[in-house]
């Protein structure tokens, strides 16, 4: 269940209250997010839509702990992250967040296997255990046979699937996807969205997605619109 009125019962996985984000551009102050409230339950698939500059990516960055709010609080799985120190926040990200980016952001000099393995290097898993996890993640995204390929040897869709494998390999609390289909053709975009839907449906992942693409947003259970720094409830459907 997704709510934007700030009346969630406290059991939600993600709880945002009074979130403000301001930027200073020269002498001008830009108010990107204004008193935003949000409650997302575990297993939800939420899409954020809105015009460019509406603050979608900023919201995602704040939820992922890679940016700090000007005011308000964010609580994820019981952890209030807005007051964490930088080092605690880094450790928290490693444990709870899987990022999926528009430009894939794979490291070009590492193979698909090595890219997916990156988050596991921060764990105490042995080499054999890491291999098992990476193979499983690449298997889920259908790229088990491409694990020794470098990003330049993969198509855009395949690169994004490697990016998804990297995001899920450490079994994070939730996935934050910033325009994951923005750089893909329709067919590849559909494949990626189907994969995300499957992660929600079969693996009970919580996915928060920012997109401009209404077709991609169709896959989400809930679509929220962000306009002038305020979240407006869109439609809610059963997951596809």
């Amino acid at each position: 269940m997704v709510r934007v009125d700030g009346r969630g019962d406290g059991s939600s996985l993600v709880r945002v209250r009074g979130l403000d984000k301001k930027y200073q551009r020269g002498s001008e102050e830009i108010h990107v997010l204004q008193g935003l409230n949000l409650d997302v339950d575990a297993g939800d698939f939420v899409a954020f839509m809105g015009p460019s500059g509406s603050g979608k990516t900023t919201l995602l960055n704040l939820l992922g702990g890679i940016d700090l709010p000007s005011a308000g609080s964010i609580t994820v799985a019981g952890d209030e992250i807005t007051h964490m120190s930088a080092s605690k926040l880094t450790a928290w990200r490693a444990r709870h967040v899987g990022f999926i980016f528009q430009m894939y952001n794979l490291i070009p000099v590492l193979t698909a296997f090595q890219n997916v393995e990156l988050p596991l290097l921060l764990t105490h898993l042995s080499k054999a255990e890491r291999r098992k996890h990476v193979e499983a993640a690449l298997g889920i995204v259908g790229l088990a046979e491409r694990m020794e390929h470098y990003p330049r040897q993969l198509s855009g869709g395949q690169e994004q699937r490697v990016g998804i494998a990297r995001a899920i390999v450490a079994d994070p609390t939730f996935l934050l996807c910033d325009e994951p289909t923005g750089d893909l053709d329709r067919k590849s975009a559909d494949e990626v969205m189907e994969l995300l839907s499957r992660l929600v449906r079969e693996h009970k992942k919580t996915v928060l997605l920012v997109t401009h693409d209404p077709v991609a947003a169709e896959r989400a259970q809930t679509v929220l619109h962000l306009n002038k720094g305020v979240l407006v409830e869109g439609r809610t459907v059963e997951a596809k």
């Binding site: 990516t57 900023t58 960055n61 992922g64 890679i66 940016d67 930088a86 080092s87 880094t90 450790a91 990200r93 490693a94 444990r95 967040v97 990022f99 980016f101 430009m103 952001n105 490291i107 070009p108 000099v109 590492l110 090595q114 990156l118 988050p119 290097l121 921060l122 080499k127 990297r166």
Partner: protein, 380 residues
């Protein structure tokens, strides 16, 4: 070391750039090693100087002789325990390019005075019994492919004529820095052939003293003893005597330091620039590493690790090449018998290389560490 592939992969993403940067370290450290070798060659005398030995020369100039009659007087000065003397011969073997030092020595006391030179007893015995015998250093033997029993003609430049010597023995140094390119023969032979002008004259004395702490007092006592005589003396420690020779060649230390500093500063700029470009190109990747949970400290160490790796490998290669170069021996044909890259120079070179690597990497690494993930991900 589960992060090893991260460092290596990044280093070799731009192979040409990495190779050229590595090449800068190789060339710089080769040059550093070479300068250290030249410095060592010039300062060899300082390193091998005995702390308990004084050199007594003519006060006017080292090329002016001293009378042999001083020997007994020197031996009576309190604190002096042994006296020997030698003459510079200055001959050439076959032609002028074949330069090496030849000394006319007082055989028994000379051997006692310089125990660091090792001569087998049987060979020494043959030498002492042979009026035209010679003892030669092992490097000299290698250079001219001589062997014990050979008869060697030396053409005199100070003492005219051709002098023939029998090689009766070969000496070795007990330390790596000992000069084994010398040629010794009997002073008696020189005096006998040059009895018109050189009878009773020697080049310089070397005296051993009972306590290095008494060096100043004994040196003053020696010079006082011969003050106001026709052959006044100048006495100094063997180290000071050797340092005087080095000074005659100019301020080698300053020259080497200047060249070395310029080379290392240039290397710092080259490497610093390379690392800065490498980090700038990878801002997004470093941001992704941070986003997935790698700490600021890890990112700092990753960038610094790349810089230090280049420094160690490049520096090590440069020093190794220099070592190989010195293994071929003195390239000057005898002017630098101690042509050797010593371990302290290798350690100093590696430390200098690491310092440059650290200095070159620290600013880009710091920038990478301070990188704000959200800002870096926004850049295209």
């Amino acid at each position: 070391m589960k992060y090893r592939h991260l460092i290596f992969a990044n280093l070799f993403r731009k192979k040409i750039r990495t190779t050229l940067t590595l090449g800068s370290f190789v060339v710089a450290l080769f040059l550093f090693g070479f300068l250290a070798v030249v410095h060592g060659a010039f300062n060899q005398g300082l390193e091998v100087a005995g702390a308990n030995r004084l050199v007594v020369v003519n006060k006017v100039s080292i090329i002016q002789p001293l009378p042999i009659s001083y020997k007994d007087k020197l031996a009576q000065i309190p604190g002096v325990t042994l006296v020997t003397h030698a003459n510079w011969f200055g001959g050439v073997y076959q032609d002028e390019r074949n330069f090496f030092p030849q000394f006319a020595i007082e055989d028994e006391t000379y051997r006692q005075m310089f125990p660091e030179f090792l001569v087998p007893d049987d060979q020494w015995k043959i030498f002492t019994d042979d009026r035209v015998g010679a003892i030669v250093g092992e490097d000299l033997v290698k250079r001219f492919h001589w062997k014990v029993g050979d008869r060697v003609p030396i053409k005199g430049t100070i003492f005219p004529g051709t002098w023939e010597f029998n090689i009766d023995g070969i000496y070795k140094g007990s330390r790596p820095q000992d000069d084994t390119t010398q040629f010794w023969f009997h002073y008696k032979y020189l005096e006998e052939r040059e009895n018109q002008y050189w009878k009773g004259l020697i080049g310089w004395y070397t005296v051993r003293i009972d306590d290095p702490g008494n060096a100043t007092r004994v040196a003053a006592a020696i010079d006082d003893t011969f003050a106001n005589s026709p052959w006044e003396t100048k006495t100094e420690t063997e180290k000071a005597f050797a340092a005087g020779f080095v000074k005659q060649a100019g301020n080698i230390e300053f020259l080497l330091l200047s060249i070395g500093s310029v080379v290392f500063f240039t290397l710092l700029l080259v490497t610093g620039n390379t690392m800065a470009i490498a980090v700038r190109e990878r801002m997004r990747e470093l941001a992704v590493l941070k986003a997935v949970g790698f700490s600021d400290g890890f990112v700092l160490l990753l960038v610094l690790g790349e810089s230090l790796f280049l420094a160690v490998i490049g520096g090590g290669l440069g020093l190794a090449l220099c070592k190989l170069f010195t293994l071929r021996g003195d390239p000057t044909g005898g002017m630098m018998p101690y042509f050797y890259l010593a371990l302290p120079a290798v350690i100093l070179g590696l430390l200098a290389s690491l310092t440059v690597g650290l200095a070159a990497g620290i600013l880009p690494a710091w920038a990478a560490m301070r990188l704000r993930v959200a800002d870096a991900l926004r850049r295209v």
